[in-house]
Assembly symmetry: C3
């Protein structure tokens, strides 16, 4: 059996949005006891990550790492028509992934105590994003 929903998210520009509760809620509603929960972002400049959820500094440090490793406006990049953050957003999305699969156990989404699910917007301006959630057993 597969249960599928679309989660709509509007970002405020570059940064992370915790979607753990939305996903846990969909798993609860699916009635699936043992299986998998798959998340997919239908874009090439946003991604889905698992990250430490207690100290917001972790996500600021992650952003600092990506900013240094894949700099906006890098002379390496020639795909610049949409701005200096466009090509870095594609690279960041590929490095951090557009798909994520989590276990479902005893009818609940399985996450470690310190794990949160985040949509990571990599463009500097706000964007509307769709996450397809598929729960399967």
């Amino acid at each position: 059996m597969a249960y599928q929903q679309v989660v709509e998210i509007t970002s405020n520009g570059r940064g992370t949005i915790n979607i753990s509760r939305d996903i846990a809620f969909l798993v609860d509603g699916s009635g699936i006891q043992t299986g998998l929960c798959h998340l997919f972002v239908k874009h090439t400049s946003a991604s889905l990550i698992l990250c430490e959820n207690a100290d917001p500094q972790v996500r600021r440090d992650l952003e600092a790492f990506l900013t240094e490793t894949v700099p906006d406006g890098s002379p390496l990049f020639h795909h610049t028509a949409e701005g200096p953050d466009d090509m870095p957003a594609h690279v960041r999305s590929i490095l951090t992934n557009m798909d994520l699969t989590l276990p479902v156990s005893q009818g609940r989404l399985v996450l470690g105590v310190w794990q949160g699910i985040y949509l990571y917007e990599h463009r500097t301006r706000p964007h509307h994003r769709q996450v397809i959630v598929t729960i399967i057993d």
Copy 2:
């Protein structure tokens, strides 16, 4: 139900090959309406990515980024018996992943408008590659 096929691909050396149509065709043929499509490359020096599919410069810029970040012949690497591109190919594959899972909805593979599925060959010489496709509901 699980439907499985092997897609055989011969690369021309380092670079990306768009396999979106092959995968969409297999999803169509599977008869599965709502579920997941999983792709797996059985190698450690090639990977599977989702990437912007409209401007080929995006994939050239991605290649420029990986060439700079994981340089062929880097003095960091001592596993060099197969050549200066061998160890970078392993690192690139780990950073960009050998598995990829996509949703299936209303009998079709779900991809964003700008998303393409690419096999990424990381060795400089041509190689024969196998992708295992599993479609499940």
Copy 3:
């Protein structure tokens, strides 16, 4: 049908542990013929990778790459209460992933000849880690 087990692993600190046999054994025991095997590590400072399994130098070179790319004690990082390896462990886990999905075919786990499944401990001190294994058809 979904079959689920927890694999418990104690690491000796930073480095890789080959868990391919444990996972193949669970797939054999599941009775599932065609499907998927999903692995999930319930932590934010350890990850799951596929890596070349013949020459241990490959994993030493990968570690050298990650040590240089995400250095312990980097001045970029301010989340340092748990030590200089803590924030790098979060970044390494995000770059190399906490989830991994593999195909099951003819009742066996599918891996390429040179592919091994490794738990990658990114903290310098030993840790107890849990991997949730879900096999589904």
